[in-house]
C-alpha cells in the first residue's frame, strides 16, 4: 500500500438480495484528508461506510484502513470512529455514562474511560450536560454526543454519516464547526457523508460523488467542480435593440448555439457546443460580438460550483444508464 493512505479500497462490491448497492468501488484517501462523501439518497454511501468500518462484509473486493487489511476487523475497529446514520442513544443513561461505557469497551480502565468521557464532553460542548439523561438532549446535542463517542478510541479515521441530518441551521453549523475542529486538532482523516454541498465546499479538501453504487467524480472540490460541472451556458447582456444583430453574429461564429432568453430582449443565452472548451467558446463569442460592433454590457458563465457538479454528474450517470 502506498505510504500515507488512510483508506484504500479495490473492487468493493455489496448487494442486498441481489440488488447491487455498491459496484466495484476503488478508493484512495490520504491521511489527514477531510473527504466530502456525496451522493443522492440510495447512492450507497452508508453501505460503503459500513463496509469500511467492518459492520458489513463486502461481497467482493478488499480494503485497508490505516494500513490494516479488511480481514482484521477488530484491529480496524480500534482505529476508526463512526457516527452512524440515524444512530440511537439509550435515553435512560447520562451522556457521561454512555461515553464511559464505550471508552471501556475499547479497553480503557474505568478511571481512564471516565477521564476520556469528561474530556470529550468538554470538547463537543456538552461538559455541563454530561450528567443529564440523554432523553433530555436535543437532536443537535445527541449528534455532538455521537461525535464524542466516535472519538473515544483516538481514531485515525472518522466516518460521519449524515451528521447534520434533521438539524436546524444553527445545529448544522455547530456540528460542521465541531467536525472541522476534530480534523484539525486530532489530525485524523475525516469522511463526511452529507447533503450539504455548500458546507462540503468549505470544509472538505477532497470530494467523492457516489451514484448508484459507483464513483462518478472524485478529486479536490475545485477539480470536481471544474471537471464535472464545466460551465455549459453563459448569459450575455447587450443593448435590447441589438439583440437580433447579436444572434446573427453568434450564429455565424459557428462556435456557440444561441437562444433568445424569453422576453428579456437585452439578454442572450449562449451554450457551449460539445468538444469546445467553455473558456474558448466564451472568448470567441464575446470577440465576435465586439468585432461586429455589438457592445457587451455584461457576461456571466453559469455552473462551476460543487452543487452544479453534483447535479451534472448524477444526471450524466442517469443518462448513460438510460
Amino acid at each position: 500500500m502506498p505510504e500515507g493512505l488512510a483508506l484504500q479500497a479495490k473492487g468493493l462490491r455489496k448487494a442486498y438480495r441481489g440488488v447491487g448497492a455498491v459496484e466495484s468501488l476503488d478508493l484512495e484517501v490520504e491521511a489527514g484528508t477531510v473527504l466530502g462523501f456525496l451522493g443522492p439518497n440510495g447512492a450507497g454511501k452508508t453501505t460503503v461506510i459500513r463496509m469500511l468500518s467492518t459492520i458489513l462484509r463486502p461481497d467482493a473486493g478488499w480494503f485497508t484502513v490505516a494500513g490494516i487489511p479488511h480481514d482484521q476487523p477488530i484491529q480496524i475497529r480500534r482505529r476508526v470512529g463512526v457516527l452512524p446514520e440515524s444512530a440511537g442513544y439509550p435515553p435512560g443513561q447520562t451522556g457521561r455514562d454512555w461515553l464511559t461505557f464505550h471508552a471501556e469497551l475499547f479497553g480503557r480502565s474505568r478511571g481512564d474511560a471516565r477521564a476520556t468521557a469528561r474530556r470529550l464532553l468538554a470538547e463537543v460542548g456538552l461538559a455541563e450536560r454530561g450528567g443529564s439523561l440523554i432523553s433530555g438532549y436535543s437532536r443537535g446535542m445527541r449528534q455532538r454526543l455521537g461525535i464524542a463517542r466516535a472519538l473515544v478510541n483516538d481514531p485515525r479515521v472518522v466516518f460521519l454519516d449524515e451528521p447534520t441530518f434533521g438539524l436546524d441551521p444553527m445545529g448544522q453549523l455547530q456540528v460542521l464547526e465541531l467536525m472541522g475542529r476534530v480534523a484539525r486538532e486530532h489530525g485524523v482523516t475525516v469522511v463526511l457523508s452529507t447533503h450539504l454541498l455548500a458546507e462540503v465546499e468549505q470544509a472538505c479538501d477532497r470530494v467523492l460523488i457516489l451514484h448508484r453504487g459507483r464513483i462518478v467524480a472524485q478529486g479536490t472540490v475545485a477539480e470536481v467542480a471544474r471537471r464535472a460541472a464545466a460551465p455549459r451556458r453563459g448569459l450575455v447582456k447587450i443593448p435590447p435593440e441589438l439583440r437580433d444583430r447579436a444572434l446573427e453574429v453568434l450564429a455565424a461564429s459557428a462556435v456557440l448555439a444561441v437562444a433568445a432568453h424569453g422576453d428579456r430582449r437585452g439578454q442572450v443565452v449562449v451554450s457551449t457546443p460539445a468538444g469546445v472548451a467553455p473558456e474558448r467558446a466564451a472568448s470567441l463569442a464575446l470577440g465576435s460580438l465586439l468585432e461586429a460592433g455589438v457592445p457587451v454590457l455584461g457576461f456571466a458563465m453559469e455552473g462551476g460550483r460543487l452543487s452544479d457538479a453534483f447535479l451534472a454528474v448524477t444526471e450524466d450517470a442517469d443518462g448513460q444508464r438510460r
Partner: protein, 268 residues
C-alpha cells in the same frame, strides 16, 4: 495519551464484564427489572396463599404445596430470563444502539456473554425472592433445604437453557417483536407436554417427550426430590434432557454470536 490501538488487546475478558455492568445497571437501576420482580413476587404470593389455603383444607399435602409453589417460581423465573434475553440484541437493533456496540473491538461473543449475565440476574433475583415462601410452606417437614437447593440447581439449568435460546433468537431476529413472539411461542410449546392426558404421559412416547423437553424434565425432577423424597442422584436421568438442551443452545448462541450483524439473519 497512548492511542487505544497501541494498547495490548484485552479482548473479551474485559469486554464481557463491561457489557454485563452496563446491562445490569440498565436492568436494575433503569427500572425494567424491578417491575418484573414485583409482578413475580405478587404471583408467588398468590400461589403460596392458595396452596396454603388448600393445605388447610387437606387438599394438598405440605410437600406438594412446596413443590407446586417452586414449580411456579422456577417456571416464571425462567420466563423472566427468556424475556430479558430475547430483548437483549433485537432490542438494541430496534433502538438503533446496536451499530455503536458493533463498532467496538469487543468480540461479539463477549457482548452476548455480558448480556446473558444480566438476563440471568433476573433468575437469581427470582430465586432469592422464592426462598422465604419455600421456608414458610415447607417448615416442619424437613423439605426446605432440599427445595431451596434443588430449585437453585434446576432453575439455573432452565435459566441457562432459556438465556441461550433467547439470545440465539434475538441475535438473528430482525425485530424485537419477532424475537419476543418466537421465544414465547417456543416456551409455550415446551409447556405443552404437561397438558397431555395422564394415560399418554405414561406411554413410551409421552415419557420420551417429558424427558426430552427440558422444561417438563426439570420440573418432574424437582417434584421427585421434594414430593417423593428421592435423593439427588436417584432420578438424575431426568436432568439429561435439560443438560443437553443447555449445551446445544449455548453452542448455537455462541456460533450465532460470531455472525451477529446489524440487520439480523445469519451472515455467513
Amino acid at each position: 495519551m497512548a492511542s487505544v490501538d497501541d494498547r495490548p488487546i484485552q479482548e473479551g475478558r474485559h469486554a464481557w464484564r463491561v457489557v454485563a455492568g452496563r446491562e445490569l445497571g440498565d436492568l436494575w437501576l433503569g427500572g425494567r427489572g424491578l417491575p418484573l420482580l414485583l409482578a413475580y413476587t405478587l404471583l408467588l404470593s398468590v400461589t403460596s396463599y392458595l396452596v396454603a389455603t388448600n393445605q388447610g383444607l387437606n387438599f394438598l399435602e405440605q410437600r406438594e404445596a412446596v413443590s407446586l409453589t417452586l414449580q411456579v417460581g422456577v417456571a416464571v423465573g425462567a420466563l423472566l430470563v427468556l424475556l430479558g434475553a430475547a430483548d437483549s440484541v433485537s432490542g438494541e437493533r430496534e433502538r438503533g444502539t446496536l451499530e455503536s456496540l458493533l463498532l467496538s473491538p469487543a468480540p461479539r461473543r463477549a457482548l452476548l456473554i455480558g448480556k446473558a449475565v444480566a438476563a440471568l440476574s433476573l433468575w437469581a433475583a427470582a430465586w432469592i425472592v422464592s426462598v422465604p415462601y419455600v421456608w414458610y410452606l415447607g417448615r416442619g417437614v424437613g423439605v426446605v433445604g432440599v427445595a431451596v437447593a434443588s430449585s437453585l440447581a434446576v432453575g439455573s439449568l432452565l435459566a441457562l437453557f432459556l438465556v441461550g435460546y433467547g439470545l440465539a433468537i434475538s441475535t438473528i431476529a430482525s425485530s424485537n417483536r419477532v424475537s419476543l413472539s418466537v421465544s414465547l411461542f417456543v416456551l409455550l410449546a415446551l409447556y405443552a407436554p404437561t397438558q397431555m392426558p395422564t394415560a399418554m404421559q405414561y406411554s413410551w412416547i409421552g415419557e420420551l417427550l417429558l424427558r426430552v423437553d427440558p422444561f417438563t424434565a426439570g420440573l418432574r425432577y424437582l417434584g421427585k426430590l421434594i414430593i417423593n423424597g428421592h435423593g439427588p442422584g436417584q432420578d438424575a436421568v431426568w436432568l439429561v434432557g435439560p443438560t443437553v438442551a443447555v449445551v446445544v443452545v449455548t453452542a448455537a448462541a455462541l456460533i450465532l454470536a460470531d455472525r451477529l450483524n446489524l440487520h439480523g439473519g445469519v451472515q455467513t
